[in-house]
Protein backbone atom coordinates (compact mmCIF):
# COMPACT_ATOMS: atom_id res chain seq x y z
CA UNK A 1 0.00 0.00 0.00
CA UNK A 2 2.58 2.54 1.04
CA UNK A 3 5.52 2.31 -1.32
CA UNK A 4 8.71 0.99 0.16
CA UNK A 5 10.97 3.91 -0.35
CA UNK A 6 14.59 4.30 0.56
CA UNK A 7 13.68 7.92 1.19
CA UNK A 8 12.29 6.92 4.60
CA UNK A 9 15.86 6.96 5.82
CA UNK A 10 16.53 10.40 4.36
CA UNK A 11 13.51 11.73 6.28
CA UNK A 12 15.25 10.98 9.58
CA UNK A 13 18.65 12.06 8.32
CA UNK A 14 17.15 15.29 6.97
CA UNK A 15 15.86 16.05 10.43
CA UNK A 16 19.10 14.96 12.09
CA UNK A 17 21.10 17.24 9.80
CA UNK A 18 18.99 20.30 10.55
CA UNK A 19 17.93 19.59 14.11
CA UNK A 20 20.45 17.22 15.72
CA UNK A 21 19.14 15.13 18.58
CA UNK A 22 15.46 15.71 17.91
CA UNK A 23 14.69 12.21 16.57
CA UNK A 24 13.92 9.87 19.46
CA UNK A 25 13.02 6.81 17.42
CA UNK A 26 12.02 5.54 14.01
CA UNK A 27 10.28 2.29 13.10
CA UNK A 28 8.14 0.71 10.45
CA UNK A 29 4.99 -1.29 11.17
CA UNK A 30 2.07 -2.33 8.94
CA UNK A 31 3.89 -0.72 6.03
CA UNK A 32 3.94 2.73 7.64
CA UNK A 33 6.98 4.65 8.81
CA UNK A 34 6.75 6.42 12.15
CA UNK A 35 9.25 8.90 13.55
CA UNK A 36 9.18 10.00 17.14
CA UNK A 37 10.26 13.56 17.73
CA UNK A 38 11.17 15.49 20.84
CA UNK A 39 8.01 17.51 21.59
CA UNK A 40 10.01 20.67 22.27
CA UNK A 41 11.33 20.73 18.69
CA UNK A 42 8.23 19.79 16.71
CA UNK A 43 7.79 23.19 15.06
CA UNK A 44 11.31 23.28 13.67
CA UNK A 45 11.18 19.64 12.57
CA UNK A 46 7.91 20.15 10.68
CA UNK A 47 9.39 23.16 8.94
CA UNK A 48 12.33 21.02 7.77
CA UNK A 49 10.04 18.21 6.64
CA UNK A 50 7.91 20.56 4.61
CA UNK A 51 10.77 22.50 3.04
CA UNK A 52 13.28 19.70 2.42
CA UNK A 53 11.25 16.51 2.75
CA UNK A 54 8.61 17.89 0.37
CA UNK A 55 5.76 16.95 2.67
CA UNK A 56 3.46 19.59 1.26
CA UNK A 57 0.36 18.32 2.98
CA UNK A 58 -0.64 17.70 6.58
CA UNK A 59 -3.14 14.92 5.96
CA UNK A 60 -4.24 14.63 9.56
CA UNK A 61 -3.35 15.74 13.07
CA UNK A 62 -4.74 14.06 16.14
CA UNK A 63 -3.83 12.65 19.53
CA UNK A 64 -4.24 9.54 21.62
CA UNK A 65 -4.46 9.28 25.39
CA UNK A 66 -2.67 6.41 27.17
CA UNK A 67 -3.79 7.33 30.70
CA UNK A 68 -2.70 6.17 33.31
CA UNK A 69 0.64 5.58 31.60
CA UNK A 70 3.02 8.55 31.64
CA UNK A 71 3.77 10.41 29.42
CA UNK A 72 0.10 9.97 28.67
CA UNK A 73 -0.48 11.87 25.41
CA UNK A 74 0.70 11.10 21.93
CA UNK A 75 0.21 13.85 19.36
CA UNK A 76 0.24 12.30 15.90
CA UNK A 77 0.91 14.09 12.61
CA UNK A 78 0.20 12.30 9.36
CA UNK A 79 2.22 13.95 6.63
CA UNK A 80 1.80 13.33 2.96
CA UNK A 81 3.93 14.27 0.00
CA UNK A 82 1.89 14.44 -3.19
CA UNK A 83 4.94 14.70 -5.44
CA UNK A 84 6.72 11.68 -3.97
CA UNK A 85 3.49 9.81 -3.15
CA UNK A 86 4.76 9.08 0.32
CA UNK A 87 3.31 9.22 3.80
CA UNK A 88 5.03 9.69 7.14
CA UNK A 89 3.76 9.60 10.70
CA UNK A 90 5.40 11.96 13.16
CA UNK A 91 4.71 11.48 16.81
CA UNK A 92 5.39 13.39 20.04
CA UNK A 93 4.83 12.20 23.57
CA UNK A 94 3.60 14.62 26.20
CA UNK A 95 3.15 14.30 29.94
CA UNK A 96 -0.21 15.08 31.52
CA UNK A 97 1.23 17.79 33.76
CA UNK A 98 2.26 20.22 31.03
CA UNK A 99 0.56 19.12 27.84
CA UNK A 100 1.91 21.90 25.64
CA UNK A 101 3.74 22.04 22.36
CA UNK A 102 4.35 24.40 19.47
CA UNK A 103 1.64 24.97 16.91
CA UNK A 104 2.39 24.05 13.30
CA UNK A 105 -0.21 26.40 11.83
CA UNK A 106 2.61 28.53 10.43
CA UNK A 107 3.87 25.50 8.49
CA UNK A 108 0.56 24.13 7.20
CA UNK A 109 -2.56 26.28 7.48
CA UNK A 110 -4.69 23.14 7.59
CA UNK A 111 -3.38 22.51 11.12
CA UNK A 112 -5.63 25.32 12.38
CA UNK A 113 -8.85 23.37 12.97
CA UNK A 114 -7.05 20.12 13.74
CA UNK A 115 -5.14 21.73 16.60
CA UNK A 116 -8.30 23.36 17.89
CA UNK A 117 -9.97 19.95 17.87
CA UNK A 118 -7.12 18.33 19.81
CA UNK A 119 -7.16 21.24 22.27
CA UNK A 120 -10.92 20.88 22.67
CA UNK A 121 -11.12 17.11 23.06
CA UNK A 122 -7.80 16.38 24.80
CA UNK A 123 -6.86 19.64 26.48
CA UNK A 124 -3.46 19.85 24.81
CA UNK A 125 -2.30 23.43 24.34
CA UNK A 126 -0.65 24.54 21.10
CA UNK A 127 1.65 27.51 21.67
CA UNK A 128 1.41 30.18 19.01
CA UNK A 129 -1.94 29.07 17.59
CA UNK A 130 -3.78 32.15 16.30
CA UNK A 131 -7.24 31.25 17.60
CA UNK A 132 -7.05 28.43 20.12
CA UNK A 133 -10.61 27.91 21.36
CA UNK A 134 -13.08 25.05 21.49
CA UNK A 135 -14.37 23.87 18.14
CA UNK A 136 -16.62 20.84 18.70
CA UNK A 137 -17.91 21.29 22.24
CA UNK A 138 -19.75 24.39 23.52
CA UNK A 139 -17.47 27.16 24.78
CA UNK A 140 -18.47 26.62 28.42
CA UNK A 141 -18.02 22.85 28.44
CA UNK A 142 -16.27 21.18 31.39
CA UNK A 143 -13.46 18.77 30.67
CA UNK A 144 -12.01 17.21 27.55
CA UNK A 145 -14.14 14.31 26.30
CA UNK A 146 -11.56 12.17 24.52
CA UNK A 147 -9.38 11.83 27.60
CA UNK A 148 -9.50 8.30 28.95
CA UNK A 149 -10.45 9.52 32.44
CA UNK A 150 -13.53 11.32 31.06
CA UNK A 151 -16.61 9.11 31.56
CA UNK A 152 -18.32 7.99 28.37
CA UNK A 153 -21.66 9.44 29.47
CA UNK A 154 -20.11 12.73 30.52
CA UNK A 155 -20.03 14.31 33.96
CA UNK A 156 -23.50 15.78 33.90
CA UNK A 157 -25.64 12.75 33.32
CA UNK A 158 -25.44 9.08 34.07
CA UNK A 159 -28.32 6.66 33.80
CA UNK A 160 -26.99 4.89 36.89
CA UNK A 161 -28.22 7.83 38.99
CA UNK A 162 -31.83 7.28 38.03
Amino acid sequence: MHPDTPADVPATSLIEAAEPGSVLGSWEAFGERTIEIDAARIGAVCRVLKAEGRFDRLADLTAADWHPREPRFEVVYHLHSMDLNRRLRVKCRLGGGAAELDSVTSVWRSADWHEREVFDLFGIVFRGHPNLKRIMMPEDWDGHPLRKDYPIHGYRYSYKDE
Partner: protein, 410 residues
Protein backbone atom coordinates in the same frame (compact mmCIF):
# COMPACT_ATOMS: atom_id res chain seq x y z
CA UNK B 1 -25.63 59.00 28.76
CA UNK B 2 -28.21 57.78 26.26
CA UNK B 3 -25.76 58.40 23.42
CA UNK B 4 -23.08 56.37 25.11
CA UNK B 5 -25.43 53.45 25.66
CA UNK B 6 -26.39 53.47 21.99
CA UNK B 7 -22.75 53.37 20.98
CA UNK B 8 -22.11 50.44 23.26
CA UNK B 9 -24.90 48.45 21.63
CA UNK B 10 -23.52 49.15 18.19
CA UNK B 11 -20.14 47.88 19.20
CA UNK B 12 -21.74 44.73 20.49
CA UNK B 13 -22.94 43.95 16.98
CA UNK B 14 -19.51 44.08 15.47
CA UNK B 15 -16.65 41.60 15.60
CA UNK B 16 -14.35 44.39 14.50
CA UNK B 17 -11.35 44.73 16.74
CA UNK B 18 -9.90 47.80 15.18
CA UNK B 19 -11.83 51.03 15.18
CA UNK B 20 -15.39 51.90 16.12
CA UNK B 21 -18.33 50.70 14.07
CA UNK B 22 -19.20 54.09 12.54
CA UNK B 23 -15.89 54.21 10.72
CA UNK B 24 -15.95 50.66 9.42
CA UNK B 25 -19.48 50.70 8.00
CA UNK B 26 -19.77 46.96 8.36
CA UNK B 27 -22.45 44.73 9.79
CA UNK B 28 -22.30 41.16 10.96
CA UNK B 29 -24.67 38.67 9.43
CA UNK B 30 -25.27 35.37 11.14
CA UNK B 31 -25.92 32.76 8.49
CA UNK B 32 -27.14 29.46 9.85
CA UNK B 33 -26.97 27.10 11.68
CA UNK B 34 -30.40 26.41 10.18
CA UNK B 35 -29.91 28.03 6.80
CA UNK B 36 -31.08 25.70 3.99
CA UNK B 37 -28.01 26.21 1.85
CA UNK B 38 -25.69 25.09 4.64
CA UNK B 39 -26.94 21.51 4.18
CA UNK B 40 -26.88 20.57 7.79
CA UNK B 41 -25.97 22.77 10.69
CA UNK B 42 -23.13 25.03 9.70
CA UNK B 43 -23.02 28.54 11.08
CA UNK B 44 -21.21 31.26 9.20
CA UNK B 45 -20.42 34.62 10.71
CA UNK B 46 -20.13 37.09 7.87
CA UNK B 47 -18.88 40.61 8.32
CA UNK B 48 -20.30 42.65 5.48
CA UNK B 49 -19.44 45.93 3.90
CA UNK B 50 -22.49 46.51 1.73
CA UNK B 51 -22.79 43.22 -0.10
CA UNK B 52 -19.09 42.41 0.05
CA UNK B 53 -17.78 39.98 2.61
CA UNK B 54 -14.95 41.46 4.63
CA UNK B 55 -14.42 38.55 6.95
CA UNK B 56 -15.99 35.14 7.24
CA UNK B 57 -15.77 32.71 10.10
CA UNK B 58 -17.30 29.25 9.91
CA UNK B 59 -18.51 27.90 13.24
CA UNK B 60 -18.78 24.11 13.32
CA UNK B 61 -19.58 21.54 15.99
CA UNK B 62 -23.36 21.65 16.00
CA UNK B 63 -23.50 18.04 14.85
CA UNK B 64 -20.79 16.72 17.16
CA UNK B 65 -22.02 13.37 18.43
CA UNK B 66 -18.89 11.96 20.03
CA UNK B 67 -18.59 9.03 17.62
CA UNK B 68 -14.85 8.76 18.23
CA UNK B 69 -15.40 8.43 21.97
CA UNK B 70 -18.11 5.86 21.45
CA UNK B 71 -15.84 3.76 19.23
CA UNK B 72 -13.53 3.26 22.20
CA UNK B 73 -16.35 1.61 24.14
CA UNK B 74 -17.36 -0.90 21.44
CA UNK B 75 -15.94 -4.10 20.00
CA UNK B 76 -14.22 -3.70 16.64
CA UNK B 77 -17.16 -5.16 14.69
CA UNK B 78 -19.65 -2.95 16.56
CA UNK B 79 -17.95 0.19 15.23
CA UNK B 80 -19.04 -0.52 11.63
CA UNK B 81 -22.63 0.81 12.07
CA UNK B 82 -21.19 3.98 13.66
CA UNK B 83 -19.13 4.67 10.56
CA UNK B 84 -22.35 4.89 8.52
CA UNK B 85 -23.41 7.86 10.59
CA UNK B 86 -20.21 9.82 9.99
CA UNK B 87 -20.73 10.70 6.36
CA UNK B 88 -24.31 9.62 5.84
CA UNK B 89 -24.24 10.29 2.11
CA UNK B 90 -21.22 8.10 1.50
CA UNK B 91 -21.74 5.46 4.17
CA UNK B 92 -20.23 2.62 2.16
CA UNK B 93 -16.99 4.58 1.72
CA UNK B 94 -16.81 4.96 5.48
CA UNK B 95 -17.58 1.27 6.06
CA UNK B 96 -14.84 0.40 3.60
CA UNK B 97 -12.19 2.67 5.07
CA UNK B 98 -12.71 1.42 8.62
CA UNK B 99 -12.77 -2.23 7.53
CA UNK B 100 -9.58 -1.80 5.49
CA UNK B 101 -7.80 -0.24 8.48
CA UNK B 102 -8.76 -3.06 10.87
CA UNK B 103 -8.06 -5.72 8.23
CA UNK B 104 -4.55 -4.35 7.87
CA UNK B 105 -4.04 -4.61 11.63
CA UNK B 106 -5.35 -8.18 11.56
CA UNK B 107 -3.44 -9.09 8.39
CA UNK B 108 -6.58 -10.47 6.72
CA UNK B 109 -6.71 -11.44 3.06
CA UNK B 110 -10.01 -10.46 1.51
CA UNK B 111 -11.30 -12.77 -1.24
CA UNK B 112 -11.51 -11.21 -4.73
CA UNK B 113 -15.28 -11.46 -4.92
CA UNK B 114 -15.67 -9.30 -1.80
CA UNK B 115 -13.11 -6.81 -3.12
CA UNK B 116 -14.88 -6.46 -6.45
CA UNK B 117 -18.23 -6.09 -4.72
CA UNK B 118 -16.74 -3.40 -2.48
CA UNK B 119 -15.42 -1.52 -5.50
CA UNK B 120 -18.77 -1.73 -7.30
CA UNK B 121 -20.79 -0.54 -4.34
CA UNK B 122 -18.44 2.28 -3.32
CA UNK B 123 -18.56 3.57 -6.89
CA UNK B 124 -22.35 3.46 -6.83
CA UNK B 125 -22.10 5.35 -3.53
CA UNK B 126 -19.96 7.96 -5.23
CA UNK B 127 -22.62 8.38 -7.91
CA UNK B 128 -25.38 8.63 -5.32
CA UNK B 129 -23.43 11.20 -3.30
CA UNK B 130 -22.63 13.27 -6.39
CA UNK B 131 -26.27 13.12 -7.47
CA UNK B 132 -27.41 14.54 -4.15
CA UNK B 133 -24.72 17.18 -4.39
CA UNK B 134 -25.69 18.15 -7.94
CA UNK B 135 -29.39 18.34 -7.12
CA UNK B 136 -28.99 20.48 -4.02
CA UNK B 137 -26.24 22.63 -5.50
CA UNK B 138 -28.43 23.40 -8.51
CA UNK B 139 -31.49 24.14 -6.39
CA UNK B 140 -29.40 26.53 -4.25
CA UNK B 141 -28.50 28.47 -7.36
CA UNK B 142 -32.08 28.36 -8.63
CA UNK B 143 -32.23 25.44 -11.06
CA UNK B 144 -35.17 23.60 -9.59
CA UNK B 145 -35.72 20.79 -12.09
CA UNK B 146 -32.22 19.28 -11.91
CA UNK B 147 -32.97 18.39 -8.31
CA UNK B 148 -35.96 16.28 -9.36
CA UNK B 149 -34.01 14.43 -12.05
CA UNK B 150 -31.11 13.71 -9.70
CA UNK B 151 -33.35 12.33 -7.01
CA UNK B 152 -35.04 10.07 -9.57
CA UNK B 153 -31.72 8.28 -10.19
CA UNK B 154 -30.69 8.41 -6.57
CA UNK B 155 -33.85 6.53 -5.69
CA UNK B 156 -32.79 3.68 -8.01
CA UNK B 157 -29.44 3.55 -6.25
CA UNK B 158 -30.96 3.53 -2.78
CA UNK B 159 -33.15 0.62 -3.89
CA UNK B 160 -30.02 -1.21 -5.01
CA UNK B 161 -28.39 -0.59 -1.61
CA UNK B 162 -31.56 -1.82 0.06
CA UNK B 163 -31.51 -4.94 -2.05
CA UNK B 164 -27.98 -5.72 -0.90
CA UNK B 165 -28.10 -4.75 2.75
CA UNK B 166 -31.73 -4.28 3.75
CA UNK B 167 -31.12 -0.57 4.37
CA UNK B 168 -31.35 2.42 2.08
CA UNK B 169 -28.83 4.65 3.80
CA UNK B 170 -27.29 3.10 6.91
CA UNK B 171 -26.09 0.06 5.03
CA UNK B 172 -23.21 -1.34 7.16
CA UNK B 173 -22.77 -3.80 4.31
CA UNK B 174 -18.99 -4.10 4.52
CA UNK B 175 -17.78 -5.91 7.59
CA UNK B 176 -14.33 -6.72 8.89
CA UNK B 177 -13.32 -9.68 6.72
CA UNK B 178 -15.66 -9.15 3.79
CA UNK B 179 -19.36 -8.49 3.32
CA UNK B 180 -22.22 -8.74 5.79
CA UNK B 181 -24.42 -10.99 3.66
CA UNK B 182 -24.19 -12.95 0.47
CA UNK B 183 -25.19 -10.75 -2.46
CA UNK B 184 -28.87 -11.37 -3.22
CA UNK B 185 -29.82 -13.67 -6.08
CA UNK B 186 -30.24 -11.78 -9.32
CA UNK B 187 -28.48 -8.62 -8.11
CA UNK B 188 -27.02 -8.07 -11.59
CA UNK B 189 -30.46 -7.21 -13.01
CA UNK B 190 -31.15 -3.91 -11.23
CA UNK B 191 -27.47 -2.88 -11.28
CA UNK B 192 -27.22 -3.51 -15.01
CA UNK B 193 -30.49 -1.67 -15.68
CA UNK B 194 -29.20 1.31 -13.74
CA UNK B 195 -25.79 1.36 -15.42
CA UNK B 196 -27.32 0.99 -18.89
CA UNK B 197 -29.60 3.96 -18.40
CA UNK B 198 -27.30 6.20 -16.40
CA UNK B 199 -25.06 7.80 -19.09
CA UNK B 200 -28.09 9.22 -20.89
CA UNK B 201 -29.38 10.57 -17.57
CA UNK B 202 -26.09 12.42 -17.04
CA UNK B 203 -26.57 13.88 -20.53
CA UNK B 204 -29.94 15.17 -19.34
CA UNK B 205 -28.39 17.00 -16.38
CA UNK B 206 -25.75 18.43 -18.65
CA UNK B 207 -28.39 19.58 -21.13
CA UNK B 208 -29.97 21.54 -18.34
CA UNK B 209 -26.82 23.06 -16.90
CA UNK B 210 -23.57 22.91 -18.85
CA UNK B 211 -24.41 25.53 -21.45
CA UNK B 212 -27.10 27.27 -19.45
CA UNK B 213 -26.11 30.99 -19.43
CA UNK B 214 -27.54 31.62 -15.95
CA UNK B 215 -25.68 28.63 -14.53
CA UNK B 216 -22.44 29.73 -16.17
CA UNK B 217 -22.68 33.30 -14.94
CA UNK B 218 -23.40 32.15 -11.41
CA UNK B 219 -20.54 29.64 -11.30
CA UNK B 220 -17.71 30.68 -13.61
CA UNK B 221 -14.95 32.64 -11.93
CA UNK B 222 -16.56 32.17 -8.52
CA UNK B 223 -14.78 30.71 -5.51
CA UNK B 224 -11.37 30.48 -7.12
CA UNK B 225 -8.39 29.75 -4.88
CA UNK B 226 -4.88 28.98 -6.19
CA UNK B 227 -3.91 25.30 -6.06
CA UNK B 228 -0.98 25.76 -3.64
CA UNK B 229 -3.25 27.46 -1.14
CA UNK B 230 -5.87 24.75 -1.45
CA UNK B 231 -3.28 22.08 -0.66
CA UNK B 232 -1.93 24.14 2.23
CA UNK B 233 -5.47 24.50 3.60
CA UNK B 234 -5.94 20.73 3.57
CA UNK B 235 -8.37 20.52 0.65
CA UNK B 236 -8.58 17.19 -1.19
CA UNK B 237 -10.74 15.43 -3.74
CA UNK B 238 -12.70 16.99 -6.62
CA UNK B 239 -11.83 20.50 -5.43
CA UNK B 240 -8.10 20.16 -6.08
CA UNK B 241 -8.73 18.15 -9.23
CA UNK B 242 -10.78 21.10 -10.48
CA UNK B 243 -7.79 23.33 -9.75
CA UNK B 244 -5.38 21.29 -11.83
CA UNK B 245 -3.94 18.56 -9.63
CA UNK B 246 -4.65 15.02 -10.87
CA UNK B 247 -4.38 13.37 -7.49
CA UNK B 248 -6.69 10.51 -6.65
CA UNK B 249 -5.94 7.94 -3.95
CA UNK B 250 -7.57 5.22 -6.06
CA UNK B 251 -4.66 5.69 -8.47
CA UNK B 252 -1.79 6.80 -6.25
CA UNK B 253 -2.28 4.32 -3.38
CA UNK B 254 -4.73 1.73 -4.72
CA UNK B 255 -6.77 -0.22 -2.20
CA UNK B 256 -9.29 -3.03 -2.61
CA UNK B 257 -7.90 -3.93 -6.08
CA UNK B 258 -8.53 -0.55 -7.69
CA UNK B 259 -5.30 -1.03 -9.64
CA UNK B 260 -7.10 -3.67 -11.71
CA UNK B 261 -9.76 -1.27 -12.97
CA UNK B 262 -9.49 1.02 -15.92
CA UNK B 263 -10.62 4.59 -15.36
CA UNK B 264 -9.50 8.16 -15.73
CA UNK B 265 -9.13 11.07 -13.32
CA UNK B 266 -11.02 14.09 -14.63
CA UNK B 267 -9.04 17.31 -14.19
CA UNK B 268 -9.79 20.97 -14.87
CA UNK B 269 -7.52 23.92 -14.31
CA UNK B 270 -9.88 26.85 -13.71
CA UNK B 271 -10.51 26.00 -10.05
CA UNK B 272 -13.86 27.78 -9.92
CA UNK B 273 -17.32 26.50 -9.02
CA UNK B 274 -18.01 25.61 -12.65
CA UNK B 275 -14.84 23.51 -12.91
CA UNK B 276 -15.82 21.60 -9.78
CA UNK B 277 -19.19 20.93 -11.38
CA UNK B 278 -17.52 19.62 -14.54
CA UNK B 279 -15.14 17.40 -12.57
CA UNK B 280 -17.90 15.83 -10.51
CA UNK B 281 -20.15 15.22 -13.51
CA UNK B 282 -17.28 13.50 -15.30
CA UNK B 283 -16.54 11.49 -12.15
CA UNK B 284 -20.08 10.14 -12.20
CA UNK B 285 -19.50 8.81 -15.72
CA UNK B 286 -16.16 7.28 -14.69
CA UNK B 287 -17.69 5.70 -11.60
CA UNK B 288 -20.41 4.11 -13.70
CA UNK B 289 -17.66 2.64 -15.89
CA UNK B 290 -15.80 1.22 -12.90
CA UNK B 291 -19.00 -0.24 -11.49
CA UNK B 292 -19.74 -1.87 -14.84
CA UNK B 293 -16.24 -3.39 -15.00
CA UNK B 294 -16.70 -4.74 -11.48
CA UNK B 295 -20.12 -6.14 -12.29
CA UNK B 296 -19.03 -7.84 -15.48
CA UNK B 297 -15.77 -9.17 -14.10
CA UNK B 298 -17.22 -10.27 -10.75
CA UNK B 299 -15.10 -13.25 -9.60
CA UNK B 300 -16.70 -16.38 -8.21
CA UNK B 301 -16.03 -17.45 -4.68
CA UNK B 302 -16.51 -16.54 -1.07
CA UNK B 303 -17.69 -13.17 0.11
CA UNK B 304 -15.88 -13.39 3.46
CA UNK B 305 -12.30 -14.16 4.43
CA UNK B 306 -11.39 -17.51 5.88
CA UNK B 307 -10.92 -16.27 9.44
CA UNK B 308 -13.22 -18.16 11.82
CA UNK B 309 -12.14 -16.07 14.83
CA UNK B 310 -13.08 -12.78 13.15
CA UNK B 311 -15.91 -13.50 10.73
CA UNK B 312 -19.23 -14.85 12.04
CA UNK B 313 -19.85 -18.40 10.78
CA UNK B 314 -22.76 -18.94 8.47
CA UNK B 315 -26.04 -19.90 10.07
CA UNK B 316 -26.11 -23.49 8.87
CA UNK B 317 -22.65 -24.31 10.19
CA UNK B 318 -23.39 -22.58 13.47
CA UNK B 319 -26.35 -24.89 14.04
CA UNK B 320 -24.53 -28.08 13.16
CA UNK B 321 -20.88 -27.66 14.21
CA UNK B 322 -19.67 -27.26 17.77
CA UNK B 323 -16.57 -25.33 16.70
CA UNK B 324 -18.59 -22.80 14.69
CA UNK B 325 -21.01 -22.30 17.58
CA UNK B 326 -18.13 -21.52 19.96
CA UNK B 327 -16.64 -19.02 17.52
CA UNK B 328 -20.01 -17.37 17.04
CA UNK B 329 -20.51 -17.07 20.80
CA UNK B 330 -17.03 -15.69 21.40
CA UNK B 331 -17.19 -13.11 18.61
CA UNK B 332 -20.54 -11.80 19.83
CA UNK B 333 -19.75 -11.83 23.56
CA UNK B 334 -16.05 -11.09 23.73
CA UNK B 335 -15.24 -9.66 20.33
CA UNK B 336 -11.92 -10.58 18.79
CA UNK B 337 -8.49 -9.37 19.78
CA UNK B 338 -6.60 -7.21 17.33
CA UNK B 339 -2.77 -7.10 17.46
CA UNK B 340 -1.37 -3.96 19.04
CA UNK B 341 -0.33 -1.26 16.60
CA UNK B 342 -1.61 1.65 14.63
CA UNK B 343 -2.73 2.18 11.08
CA UNK B 344 -3.73 5.21 9.04
CA UNK B 345 -5.85 4.11 6.10
CA UNK B 346 -6.74 6.68 3.46
CA UNK B 347 -9.26 6.17 0.69
CA UNK B 348 -10.81 8.41 -1.93
CA UNK B 349 -14.32 9.14 -0.74
CA UNK B 350 -16.68 11.16 -2.97
CA UNK B 351 -15.43 14.28 -1.18
CA UNK B 352 -11.70 13.62 -1.00
CA UNK B 353 -9.27 11.92 1.33
CA UNK B 354 -11.07 9.97 4.01
CA UNK B 355 -8.69 8.67 6.65
CA UNK B 356 -9.22 6.30 9.53
CA UNK B 357 -6.50 6.22 12.16
CA UNK B 358 -7.06 3.12 14.28
CA UNK B 359 -4.89 2.44 17.33
CA UNK B 360 -5.05 -0.98 18.94
CA UNK B 361 -3.72 -1.88 22.38
CA UNK B 362 -4.15 -5.60 21.73
CA UNK B 363 -7.64 -5.87 23.24
CA UNK B 364 -11.04 -6.42 21.59
CA UNK B 365 -11.95 -2.72 21.63
CA UNK B 366 -10.09 -0.04 19.70
CA UNK B 367 -7.94 2.17 21.88
CA UNK B 368 -8.53 5.13 19.60
CA UNK B 369 -10.34 5.67 16.32
CA UNK B 370 -9.79 8.98 14.65
CA UNK B 371 -11.80 9.83 11.57
CA UNK B 372 -10.34 12.38 9.22
CA UNK B 373 -13.34 13.40 7.18
CA UNK B 374 -12.64 15.03 3.83
CA UNK B 375 -15.26 17.70 4.54
CA UNK B 376 -13.28 18.84 7.59
CA UNK B 377 -10.32 19.78 5.42
CA UNK B 378 -12.42 21.14 2.57
CA UNK B 379 -14.55 23.36 4.78
CA UNK B 380 -11.44 25.10 6.15
CA UNK B 381 -11.06 26.76 2.76
CA UNK B 382 -14.49 28.45 3.02
CA UNK B 383 -13.26 31.72 4.46
CA UNK B 384 -10.49 32.02 1.89
CA UNK B 385 -12.97 31.27 -0.88
CA UNK B 386 -15.62 33.84 -0.02
CA UNK B 387 -13.76 36.76 1.58
CA UNK B 388 -13.77 39.79 -0.69
CA UNK B 389 -16.67 38.43 -2.75
CA UNK B 390 -20.38 39.08 -2.87
CA UNK B 391 -22.85 37.52 -0.52
CA UNK B 392 -24.71 35.80 -3.39
CA UNK B 393 -21.50 33.92 -4.23
CA UNK B 394 -21.41 32.41 -0.75
CA UNK B 395 -24.22 30.05 -1.68
CA UNK B 396 -22.52 28.92 -4.90
CA UNK B 397 -19.15 28.50 -3.17
CA UNK B 398 -20.54 26.55 -0.23
CA UNK B 399 -22.43 24.26 -2.56
CA UNK B 400 -19.31 23.54 -4.59
CA UNK B 401 -17.42 22.35 -1.49
CA UNK B 402 -19.93 19.50 -1.11
CA UNK B 403 -19.47 19.10 2.63
CA UNK B 404 -21.44 16.86 4.93
CA UNK B 405 -21.63 18.17 8.46
CA UNK B 406 -21.70 14.70 9.98
CA UNK B 407 -18.29 14.23 8.41
CA UNK B 408 -16.99 17.53 9.77
CA UNK B 409 -18.28 17.31 13.33
CA UNK B 410 -18.43 13.53 13.92
Amino acid sequence: MAGEEGKGQNQGLSTAQDGPVEQRHSIVLNMGPQHPSTHGVLRLLLELDGETIVKAEPDIGYLHTGIEKECEDKFYQQVVPLTDRVDYLANLSNNLCYCLAVERLLGLEIPPMAQWMRVMLTELTRISSHLLWLGTHAIDIGAMSVFLYCFREREDLLRIFEMFSGQRMMTSYFRIGGLALAPPRGWEGPVRRFLDGFPSKVDQYEDLLTNNPIWRVRTQGVGQVPLEELIDLGVTGPMIRAAGRAWDIRKSEPYSSYEKFDFEIPVRTEGDVYARYEVRVEEMRQSAQIARQAMEGMPEGDWVADAPKVVLPNRERMKTEMEALIHHFKIVYEGFKVPAGEVYQAIESPRGELGYYVVSDGSAKPHRVHIHGPSFGNLQATARMIEGRLIADVIASLGSIDFVLGDVDR
